[in-house]
């Protein structure tokens, strides 16, 4: 049985076959950012609160990567999705997902790579 670890702790919560990123929302101006910030990046108010972001959005842009990079053997797809909270999130795109700007997509949990016996878990973009 493989062990699992998050590629970075504190960034997301897995809910079944969905994943919710944990951003932060300003208690004064309402600006939402991801990754979460310690103070508001927009108005500089000192109090922000954690906010679980929507997991569905629209595919904003994409590319197919053909060069080798650590943990991601080519070819693989990358893209960014626009979330209703007013921000974009970047991630790899699940194989088989249609590459089309404007496609309704969602964030899903995924094993991104393995380190020895450990599955390193994160998120990627998939069709809804």
């Amino acid at each position: 049985m493989s062990q699992t670890q998050n590629f970075q702790d504190g960034l997301f919560e897995i809910e079944g076959d969905s994943i919710r990123l944990i951003g932060s929302k300003c208690k004064s101006c309402g600006r939402v950012v991801y990754p979460a910030a310690k103070s508001c990046l927009d108005c500089c108010h000192e109090e922000v609160e954690p906010l679980k972001l929507s997991s569905t959005g629209k595919l904003y842009t994409y590319t197919t990567v053909h060069m080798p990079i650590p943990h991601f053997p080519p070819p693989f797809n990358l893209g960014s999705l626009e979330l209703p909270e007013g921000l974009s999130v970047f991630a790899s795109i699940a194989e088989g997902t249609e590459l089309k700007v404007g496609l309704p997509v969602r964030l899903v949990p995924a094993v991104l790579w393995r380190e020895g016996e450990t599955d390193v878990v994160g998120y990627r973009i998939a069709a809804t």
């Binding site: 990754p35 590319t63 197919t64 990358l78 700007v101």
Partner: protein
Amino acid sequence: MREVAIIGFGQTVFGKFPERSISDLGAEAVRAALKDAGVPPKEIQAAYASRLFVDLITGQTILRDVGITDIEVTNVENACAGGGTAVRGLWKDIAAGYCDIGIAVGVESMTTSPIAGKLIPPAKDDVDGMLGMTQPAVFAMHARRLMETRGATREDFAQVAVKSHHAASLNPYAQHGKEVTVEQVLGSRMVCDPITVFQCCPNTDGAAAVIMCSMDVARRYTTQPVRVRASVLLSADYNFKKTEMATFEVQRKAAAKAYEMAGLGPQDLNVVEVHDAFAPEELMHYEDLGLCKPGEMISLLRSGATSLGGRVPVNPSGGLQSLGHPLSASGVRNVGEIVQHLRGRAGKRQVAGAKVGLAQMLGGNAIGLETGACSIHIMSV
């Protein structure tokens, strides 16, 4: 604030020279610039040096080899915009009267750097970087937005590379001085779709330097001083403030400031040099710098206006793509390129009758930010 002049330029041939040290490359550019200006080394009062992947006190070690010591030296970094930052720093010092004459030098030895043959790594805690983000991927995603919003085609992107290689074939300093065709560009290895390897800047070693001074001092050395009409350096804002990826907001703001400082507009430009590390991005700069109306970058390219012989040639040097891109040198090199055209000394690639030119440089990437920095210099004779 005094008017600042540029009276000398020097650069090394760009290419892969792992056997050459940073001080060797930098000193060659400095000597060439001093000779070009006719300025004795001991006259230099201040220096700004830019470098990224290099050891400490770079400026001092370069100037040591030319017999220049005992002056104020500042070493700066702003990713690919480091060279533009060095020019900006020296401009401010001269304009404000802190010194009368100085040198701005940019240098990079990519082949002996920790990232030789590799990509610029993101910061260790950069979440996007951990998930596979790289510079070519970023620009490929920009390119996809150009296809989506501007009707850009793969052939358009390839045409930028063809234009770049053609210009470089006329530049004796170029790393990639061979002409290419659209078919060859499209048929070359795919890096990040739609960007093929012939649309990417290479790993380059090189240096460039400019001599800048007050207008009073300039008149002692030349009857043809190049006037710096604008100098702007601006860092980018958050991505969440943008609605469209197919533009660089920082560049638009920097350009507006620069045109205001210079008292002229984009229609007055005869020659332009921009950051073209990847072919598609050059098209974004056409709109952001106001060389054409919003939405018209493709028409401008296809009209031939930005090719040599056109109304406003962009990157007549061959740019980062084909002349080469020693990161921190490029921002000095492209200011110097404009200077050459304005003085009628650009050889076979000379833009005829050039009187006003603009040099732009962009640099840096980090999660959450549009980009790092943008520098813009406008010059005229």
